[in-house]
C-alpha cells in the first residue's frame, strides 16, 4: 500500500483536498485509503511540523485532519498556526486522549472562525467520512 490512491485513476483535480497530520504510519495509511476511496485528494504529513511545511509550500487544501499528540509540533499548535493564516480553515481532530473539557479548550486555542470537530480514537470510519464530507465544502461556499 503506497501513498497514492488505492486503485483506478486518481481523484479529479477539483476533488476536495485533505491535509492529514498523523504520526502513526499505519493509521495514516488507513485514513488515506479511506479518504481516497471516498474521492478526496490526500496530503500526508508524519507530524505537525511536516504539515506546516506542506502548507507553507503553498499546497492547496480544504480541510485539516490532525492528531493532537505528535512529535516535533503538536496538533494544537498546528491548528493555531494554520488558522492564523486561514481563520476559516475547517479542522477535524482525532485524538487518543481527548482534553478533559472536550473541544472547548481546543476551539479557544485554535482561534479563527472555521468549524472544528473532535473525534476520539478509535475512529469510526463512517462518522469520519461524514464529518469530512460536511466540512470539506465549508471554505468553498
Amino acid at each position: 500500500m503506497t501513498g497514492s490512491a488505492p486503485s483506478g485513476p486518481g481523484p479529479p483535480d477539483d476533488a476536495p483536498r485533505i491535509l492529514v497530520a498523523e504520526d502513526e504510519p499505519l493509521a495514516a495509511m488507513a485514513i488515506e485509503d479511506l479518504l481516497a476511496g471516498a474521492g478526496y485528494a490526500v496530503l500526508l504529513a508524519a507530524d505537525g511540523q511536516e504539515a506546516l511545511e506542506i502548507a507553507a509550500r503553498g499546497a492547496r487544501f480544504d480541510l485539516l485532519l490532525t492528531d493532537l499528540r505528535m512529535p516535533r509540533l503538536a496538533g494544537r499548535e498546528l491548528i493555531r498556526r494554520l488558522r492564523a493564516a486561514r481563520p476559516d480553515l475547517p479542522v477535524v481532530v482525532m485524538t487518543g486522549y481527548a482534553p478533559p473539557d472536550g473541544a472547548a479548550s481546543l476551539l479557544r486555542d485554535a482561534g479563527g472562525t472555521g468549524p472544528l470537530l473532535l473525534f476520539t480514537k478509535p475512529i469510526e470510519p463512517e462518522q469520519l467520512l461524514d464529518a469530512v464530507g460536511r466540512l470539506a465544502g465549508w471554505s468553498r461556499r
Binding site: 486503485s7 505528535m70 487518543g96
Partner: protein, 557 residues
Amino acid sequence: MSASAFPVDSVPALPHGSDPFRHGDPLWLPAGAEAAAAAASLVILAALVSFFLRRREPGFPILAALLSLFLLSDATAHLARLWMLWRPDHGATGPVATGLAAVIGLASAVLLRPVLAKTLARPSPADLAREIEVRRAAEARARESEARLASLFEHMADAVFVVGQRPDGRFAYESVNPAFERLFGVGRDRLLGQGPRAFLDDEAVVALIERRYAEALAGHAPVAYEACGFTRAGYRHWHTVLAPIRDPEGQVVRLLGSVRDVTETRRLQADLQEAARLATVGSMCAGVAHEMSQPVNVIALWAGNARAALAAGRAEPERLARAFEVVLDQSRRIGALLERMRELTREEPAGPGARPAAPPRGEGGARPGAPAAEAEPGGPFDAAEAVAAVAAVASRQYAIEGTVELTLDRPPGTIPVQGRRAKLEQALLQLIANAHDAVLERRSREPGAPARIVVALRADHAGGVVAIAVRDTGGGVPEAVRGRIFDPFFTTKEPGRGTGLGLAIVQGVARSMGGRLETWNEAAGTAEAGAVFCLTLPLAAAAPVRPGPVRVGTAAA
C-alpha cells in the same frame, strides 16, 4: 570592834598597803571602796549570767563560765579584804580567801585565752546573718523557678502528665496539665487517681497505652508511641513520649509523659496519600487510554477499510492479507502492553519460600497466548555474565545502527546473585534502551553531544551487594520529573514511543531480588552530562554458580 584591836603589822599581806590606823584615815573609806568593788563584780556577774542564759550561742557557755569564775573570785577577794578591815585578828581566813580568789582568777585568766580563740573560730552573728540572707535569696530563686515551671506546665501547648503505678498494678494519673484536659476532654478532678479509662472507651487502646506504660517502667528507658481512638473530646490521634522518673533510691515508680496532638497532621497525610493514589490512578488511566487507543484505532481503520472493500466487491487478496496482518500485529501490541501491566501488579518478594504460589505468566509477553513459564523464584546465577551478555547484544546493535557507543566496565570473576536471570536481563535492557533514547533525544537537539553509554558493574563482597549502573550522556533527568519517573505510565518520551512502564518494571525486578533502583545525574552542565540508573542487588550467600577464575583485588568497588 575597836580601832585599837588592829596591830600595826598584823596585816602585812594587805595588797593595797593602806593602813587606816597608821594614817588615821577614817575606816569607812577603804571599807566602802571594797564593798563597792565587790558589789560591782557581783552585779556584772549577774548581768553576764543573765545575758548568757538568754543568748545560748555555741562556745559562749565556757567563756561565760570562765568570766563568771573570775568575777566571782574578784568579788570574793574584795569581800575578804572588807572582812579583814573589821577583823584583822581573825587569823588565816582573810588571807586564805584572798589567796584562793587570786588563784582562781589567775586560772580563769589562763584558761580564757584558748577558750577565746576557740570561740572566735566560730561564725559570728554577722556571718550567720549573711549566710541567712544568702539562703533566703536562694530560696526565693527556687520558689520563683518552681513557679515558672508550674506556669510552664500549666500553659504548655503539649499535654503533659505524670502517671504512677499503684501497688495493685493499676496506673493512676498523679498530675495533668490543662492541655491534657483539653486534648482528651476530661477535667483534672476526674483524671487524677484514674487510668486511661478515664478518657477512653476503647479497651484495645487502653490496653495498648497501659502496655506502653508498663514497658517504660520496666525498661527504665523512654518509650514513644502513637495511638488513636475516640476520646471524650472526639476522635484523636496522638503521639506520646514517656520518660521514667526515678525516686531517690533509683527506683522508677512513675512516668513523665508528654503528648502531642497529631490528629490534623495524620488526617492531612491520609488525604495526601489518597490524593496521590487518585492521581496515580488518573495518570495510569490516561496512559492506558493513550497507549491502547493507537493500536485499537489502527485495527478499527484497517478492518473498516477491508470491510468496505469487500462490500464494494473490490477486495484484492493481497490487500486483505495485509489488513489481517496489521490487525494481528496491533493485537499483539495490545497484548504486550497488557502483559507489562500484569507484570506491574506482581512484585514477588525475594528468596525461595517467601512467596505464595503465583499463577502462570507469560515470559516476556511478546506473543499473546505464548506458553506461560512458571514464575519460580529462581536460583543463584552470575550477574556479571548476565550483564556482559546484555551489554554485548546492545553494544552490537548500536554499533550496527551507528547511534551510540556502549562500553562495559566489569571486574573479573563471577558475581552470584539470587533470582531469575531473564528478569535481570530484561531490566537491564530496559535501562540501556532508556539511556539510548535519552542520548538520541539529546543529539536531536545538540547534534554534537557525545553519544556514550557505560554499563558499570561493581561488587562489594564485604558489604554483600552488587551495583549495576547504566550511565548515559543524554543530559540527565530534569529535576521537574525526577520524582515521577518511577510512576507507572509516566513517560517523557514522544507519543507512541514509551509506555511509561519501563522503569516501574525495572523497579519491580529490583525489589523482587531484594534490591533497589536509584537514579542521579552526573556532570550536569557539561558536554558529558547524563543520568545514572543504578540497580543495587544483594549478593547470593556463598555457593557461586560455577567455579570462576580466582578473584583479584580490583573487584571491590
